[in-house]
Amino acid sequence: MIDAELHVYAGSREEILDRFEPSLAARIRDTAFRLPPASPHPGVDVFAGEVAAATDPAEVAERLPEEVEWALLVPAQIFPAAGWLDHGLAAAFAAALNDHFAQTWLPADPRFRLAAALSPHDAPAAAAELRRWAGDPRVVAGCFAPTGAGLGHPHYAPLLAEASRLELPLMMHPSGAEGIALGAPLLGGGTPRTPQETFTLLPQVAAANLASAVYDGAFETHPGLTLVLAGFGVEWAGPWLWKLDQEWRGLRADVPWLTRPPSETLAERVRFVLDESCPPLDAATRALLELVPDGMLLYGSDAPFGPGEERLAALAGHESILAGNAAATFAAGAAAATGGA
């Protein structure tokens, strides 16, 4: 089994303060800077007790089920930085988190891999940060939260180009700032007033960003690009893939760079993490998932918010979802980590 989404956290700002450039560290120390909460979603702090454990690599390693070959550590505290106004601090925070996890977590267990934290505000800086880790075989992806620009917007081009060149997948995960912070993605219909509205509407953000990437030709411009969507659910994706194809057929002349149905491209280049943002895998959900190509699905525990035991039980026997798809998706880094080709 491969766990494609295991959230991990720095335990305190003091723990990472030395990772910042001294003047910036002083600024952080002298201000009200606080580490983002464990859950990036507004109004959700009920997991505090559980999350505390996700700040200790030894404890997280001990909790990993025996059958887990490796787990992708996702530094979740970077995601709320998508709602920060200080973009320089966001980029420095991403780098500090990466140094912290690479130096204190990755050596703690050979099953740990890292998705490098990236700030979405400054794509050239994010590209440079991804490049900084490209030589480390334990770093097998980058991760960031969406902004108000769709993934196909030129804003993201430097990051997508670098990820494509390095063949490192990019994971997109909600920030919790969706619909409520300047620079974060809007949610359709207006600004939510409750966390429940935000949760409910998050698939909009994933759908909008993927549509942006598809029709803007991001997958054609960046042939090595793979996108991994975590925290957005997947039950909505099947009908939506059909819709992408339908609009392509009718408006093909407007996007002549797309020479085949978008669903075919996405089947190869996009992955959805089956995590706790997805509904229970009952008969109805399974019917919806039948509409999504099998190869697009990755298992993610979503720890510390999961794993749901029922979800794991429902996936028993689905080797491709539990391991094979993730192994192929993160092939470049994983192969390097095991000394493979």
């Binding site: 803007d216 030709g217 054609e220 009718g250 408006l251 093909r252 002349a253 002549p256 760079w257």
Partner: protein
């Protein structure tokens, strides 16, 4: 159509009646056939889109966009297509195939013959049109 097979001809007016790009409809027993004059010559097609059976001859005859790099456009005026007014699916007039393989379904097309300035659509014998 095999050589030697006699084709029924549908009289479709005279060459000088057709403005460039103008598509004229000619009734048949079961529907209609559109005939259009382009820079590449005359084309004839069944007035029925293979997608949802829409009246495709009400669509526009135009050139098409060739595959390109993102946000670059390469217009090909030498390959006339017709764009269905219902869902904008495009089909080449020359062979009825869709552009960029958006579907395997093909538009029904016919040969056109010009004789002494008169335009004839070549129908397959035994096919009810």
């Amino acid at each position: 159509v095999s050589a030697g097979v006699q084709l029924e001809r549908l009289a479709a007016g005279r060459v000088e009646d057709y403005a460039a790009g103008e598509l004229r409809l000619w009734p048949t027993r079961t529907g209609s056939i559109g005939v259009v004059r382009t820079a590449q010559g005359f084309y004839a097609l069944r007035n029925r889109c293979p997608h949802q059976a829409g009246p495709i001859c009400a669509g526009k005859v135009t050139g098409t966009m060739l595959p390109s790099r993102p946000h670059e456009y390469r217009y090909d005026a030498s390959t006339p297509v017709i764009r269905c007014p219902l869902h904008r699916w495009e089909f080449r007039l020359s062979d009825g195939r869709s552009t960029s393989a958006i579907t395997r379904k093909r538009l029904v097309t016919y040969g056109v013959e010009i004789e002494d300035g008169a335009v004839y659509v070549l129908l397959r014998p035994g096919v009810s049109e």
